[in-house]
């Protein structure tokens, strides 16, 4: 009897959860479906059965040179994340392993730089970029994305490094390990998972950043965010193509995201929720 009730409960919950999940996922699903429809089909009314053409994907590449913004997105997100890691690893390391009274204050201050609204510095940044010839350059945007994500990178690394037990270092030293051996054989293997999670989450954040990438680029350095935003003006027969471009723009990051659900919570709440 009791078992019967739980099974019933489980089935009810399952049905409810799947309905909610499908409603939430629907816009993405419908975009993918529309991307393999023909243009007339795309505006012919609601239908979940596309004719299955890949024409749109080819058209987006041949007419709008899709590969260029895609490569820009890859270069900007990966480049800025690696740059941020290079700058952040030493400082997160120092804060985790030789903390002082001020470590907490420095961390909080770093976080506070993240609170500055982007628009507040739009004017000076725009003028500086213009004067230094950095507008629409990949270097300028990489630096920008590095700076805005640096606090999160330091924070995430710090919360991971802090979990590496200090005793293990002492044990290694007792066994006669030198500093170099300590770093290569003991610390690095323990730090790699944290660094990997940080890398993943920050590529996602940089890929989707849609204020600076749209405002500071026009054509040469424009990543997918700016490319897709440029679709906002034309009306009418372009939905299937827009869907194809959108599907390609979100697919890589969607898949990365699915793998980093856990780190996402930790990274975005600065360790406040685990």
């Amino acid at each position: 009897m009791a078992r019967n009730v739980t099974t019933k409960h489980k089935i009810t919950a399952t049905v409810a959860a799947w309905i909610v999940a499908l409603i939430i996922f629907f816009p993405i699903l419908y975009t993918i479906i529309t991307s393999i429809k023909t243009e007339p089909e795309a505006i012919a009314g609601f239908s979940l059965w596309p004719s299955g053409t890949f024409e749109n994907y080819i058209t987006v590449q041949t007419q709008r040179d899709y590969l260029k913004p895609f490569m820009n997105s890859v270069i900007l997100s990966v480049g800025s994340t690696i740059l941020a890691l290079i700058i952040a690893i030493p400082s997160a390391w120092a804060m985790a392993f030789s903390p002082t009274k001020r470590t907490k204050d420095i961390l909080m201050w770093m976080l506070s730089t993240k609170m500055m609204p982007a628009v507040a510095v739009l004017v000076p940044i725009y003028l500086l970029f213009r004067d230094f010839g950095l507008l629409d350059s990949r270097i300028g945007l990489t630096v920008m994305l590095t700076l805005i994500n640096l606090p999160i990178v330091v924070w995430m690394l710090y919360t991971y490094f802090r979990e590496i037990p200090g005793e293990i270092l002492e044990a290694a030293r007792m066994d006669g390990a030198g500093l170099w051996q300590e770093i290569v054989y003991v610390l690095t293997p323990m730090a790699v998972p944290g660094i990997a999670s940080t890398l993943l989450l920050n590529i996602i954040l940089a890929w989707n950043e849609s204020f600076w990438t749209i405002r500071l680029s026009t054509t040469n350095a424009a990543p997918l965010t700016a490319f897709i935003a440029s679709f906002s003006s034309p009306q009418g027969l372009f939905w299937a193509k827009l869907s194809a471009a959108s599907t390609m723009a979100i697919a890589p990051i969607l898949i990365l995201g699915w793998f980093s659900q856990k780190q996402l919570v930790r990274g975005l709440t600065f360790g406040a929720v685990k």
């Binding site: 909610v20 816009p27 700016a226 600065f270």
Partner: protein, 290 residues
């Protein structure tokens, strides 16, 4: 001796990130503050002069300013309301034993990874378009007249899109918190005859309080700066009906070429964000002590 060395080394290791962030924080902000007291128009860059508080006065007396502040509050408040309540409900649902939990989680979390321009354009064209969108199809199916969402309810439409993007975030964080709730406590409450509502109000909600605070604060930081969603859907219109403070500053700066005015708006935005940040830092800081 060794400690002195370690300390110096630690300082050196921290120097690059601290210096970079220091420059990043001080230089642009100081420039914004400086410009906010200047009469500086990009169309007439040779004619820059000190104007005192004129820019603030100008921004303050502009009817668009109050409208934009109001719109900012509506976007932040509306999205928070939908995502927190929806997030709690969905998290409670996902916390039950269900078939295919992994896939359901993946489907629900997905919108968070969709870049804002894609989310906005998909909703604008495929879902909310008055002639070809899915909502229009549904209206026609029930014999109703399709609604022109972005013309009639521009602000509401933007709230819906942004809420769709942030609902997964709230759900995921609240679910994580929910799963750390002690199962024995729940059982004990059940045994004592507490019904679902009682368990929710006296056990679950207090346990979630901290995470809800974190969700509200973090989302507020991002929601104050909603930009791309407005740019690709309504472009702030009709009139100023869907212009928030961020968008108004962008309009003033890059469409109106008014550096001084935009900077004054920027300083106002900083003040607003700081009020929120103050509370967030306290919530996060408390956790560091534990």
């Amino acid at each position: 001796m060794a400690t002195q060395n370690t300390k110096t080394l630690a300082r050196l290791m921290m120097a690059p990130s601290v210096l970079l962030l220091l420059i990043w924080m001080i230089v642009p902000l100081a420039m914004t503050l400086w410009f906010s007291f200047q009469n500086y128009n990009l169309l007439d860059p040779s004619n820059v002069s000190f104007t005192g508080l004129f820019n603030y006065e100008f921004f303050y007396t502009d009817p668009a300013f109050f409208q934009s502040i109001w719109n900012t509050l509506v976007i932040v408040g509306g999205v928070l309301l939908i995502t927190v309540i929806g997030g709690i409900a969905i998290a409670l649902l996902l916390d039950q034993p269900i078939f295919g939990q992994g896939i359901v989680r993946i489907l629900i979390i997905s919108p968070f990874f969709v870049m804002p321009p894609v989310a906005a354009l998909v909703w604008k064209n495929m879902i909310m378009n008055p002639s070809y969108g899915v909502f229009a199809d549904i209206s026609r199916f029930f014999g109703l007249r399709p609604v022109d969402w972005f013309a009639q309810y521009p602000l509401f439409s933007i709230v819906v899109i942004v809420a769709w993007q942030w609902l997964p975030f709230a759900t995921l964080i609240l679910l994580t918190a929910l799963q750390s709730l002690d199962g024995e406590q729940k059982e004990a409450a059940e045994m004592d005859g507490a019904n679902f509502l009682n368990r929710f109000v006296y056990l679950v909600l207090p346990h979630l309080a901290r995470s809800i605070t974190v969700v509200i604060l973090i989302q507020t930081i991002f929601l104050l700066g909603v930009y791309a969603e407005i740019l690709v859907t309504t472009n702030g219109g009709p009139g100023y009906a869907s212009t928030n403070l961020a968008f108004l500053i962008y309009r003033t700066a890059l469409l109106g070429y008014d550096v001084g005015g935009a900077s004054a708006g920027g300083i106002i935005a900083v003040v607003l964000a700081n009020i929120v940040a103050f509370f967030l830092m306290r919530a996060v800081g408390k956790n560091l002590d534990r």
